[in-house]
């Protein structure tokens, strides 16, 4: 447990990245954890012709990309007793099997409201191994005191 004060946090501060390799096993495991069994993530035969994303392959859940991006922030915030209060995410490219997704975050805004309501905004991006952008998030974190 490492206490972090609002005063000690600076804009531009970089958080530790989260890196994950994903494959079909990852998609199945995430489907079970989230109850999102959409066939575009799970059914290799169906997607060959149905192709919602115009590619004949299963793709990762958008919500696992959002989770990876969020983990960049929770890895820092949860041990420090800070609370995630808002997440706005956008997915820019479907994530394919056997990609490695790297999520990086930087504190971009610091909001001085009042004690217990002060918060920061963390800009997080997710990229594949070719540095193609696959997702973006803005995540707000509230400081309790």
């Amino acid at each position: 447990m490492e206490k972090v004060s609002f005063e000690s946090v600076k804009t531009g501060m970089v958080l530790a990245p989260v890196v994950h390799y994903v494959n079909q096993e990852t998609f199945w495991k995430y489907a079970v954890g989230s109850f999102d069994y959409n066939p575009v993530h799970n059914d290799a035969e169906w997607v060959k012709t149905a192709m919602p994303f115009k590619i004949p392959k299963t793709v990762a859940h958008g919500m696992i990309t959002m989770s990876f991006m969020t983990s960049v922030v929770t890895n820092w915030a949860v041990p420090a007793m800070l609370r995630v209060s808002k997440i706005v995410s956008k997915f820019t490219k479907p994530v394919e099997q056997e990609w490695t997704i790297t999520c990086t975050g930087v504190i971009s805004e610091k909001h001085y409201i009042s004690k217990g309501k002060n918060y920061v905004v963390v800009d997080v991006k997710a990229e594949n191994q070719a540095k193609d952008l696959v997702g973006l998030s803005q995540i707000e974190v509230v400081f309790p005191d």
Binding site: M1, H20, Q24, E25, T26, W28, K29, Y30, A31, V32, G33, S34, F35, D36, Y37, N38, P39, V40, N42, D43, A44, E45, W46, K48, T49, A50, M51, P52, F53, K54, H61, G62, M63, I64, M66, S67, F68, T70, S71, T74, N75, V78, P79, M81, R83, V84, S85, K86, I87, V88, S89, K90, F91
Partner: protein
């Protein structure tokens, strides 16, 4: 909620069934898909809030299964003993655990079942959190149509989903957005393995 006709890859999924809910949840999103709500049929004259089909009583195994599913090994989310000794006094949910709650609570026949639509695409999501979910809470959801629009040939549908505990404390809200097949015929194409989108 019971298992129905099993998909061919069911054995692969079943390897990861660890929770009581995972063993009961319907993994076949084609089941009743003919009856899912459809983009061009939803009544935006009636914006009344409705209850979800099911409630979700949170067990530690549910929170852990979500964290493990998104490959997060944060001990506050996965190690009950560690979390109990922390100032939190128990497991902390991964924020996107709300996905699990939403799919469970919407169910198969309830309003908002379009989140199960084969062929749906996820453009991005908006979530707000007011309090951490806790093990032992029983969550119910209220949902209502929020937005429906066309952009660059794609058809977007949005519902607002509010999540409350058993004491009616609002824990989290989201604006759930998907790009959907526009018509019931488009969905029927997807059910036959035919692309039901024009973009």
């Amino acid at each position: 909620m019971t298992q129905d006709k099993l998909p061919a890859y069911y054995k692969e999924l079943a390897k990861y069934f660890k929770t009581e809910k995972a063993k009961r949840f319907s993994t076949n999103f084609f089941t009743d898909a003919e009856n899912y709500e459809v983009w061009d049929e939803i009544d935006f004259e009636n914006l009344q809030e409705v209850d979800g089909e099911n409630t979700f009583t949170i067990k530690a195994e549910d929170m852990k299964a979500y964290a493990e599913g998104c490959l997060d090994n944060n001990p506050y989310m996965t190690d009950e003993e560690f979390a109990k000794k922390s100032p939190y006094g128990g497991l902390v949910p991964h924020p996107i655990f709300t996905t699990t709650i939403a799919f469970w609570c919407v169910g198969i026949k309830g309003r908002g079942n379009w989140i199960r639509t084969p062929g749906a695409r996820n453009p991005g999501q908006y979530h707000e959190y007011y309090e951490n979910f806790k093990v032992g809470e029983t969550i119910h959801i209220k949902l209502r149509p929020y937005g429906r629009y066309e952009k660059r040939g794609k058809y977007y549908l949005q519902y607002k989903i509010d999540m409350y505990n058993q004491n009616n404390v609002l824990k989290a809200s989201s604006i759930s957005t998907l790009i959907l097949p526009r018509t019931r015929d488009d969905i029927r194409k997807f059910l036959k393995g035919i692309r039901g989108l024009k973009d």
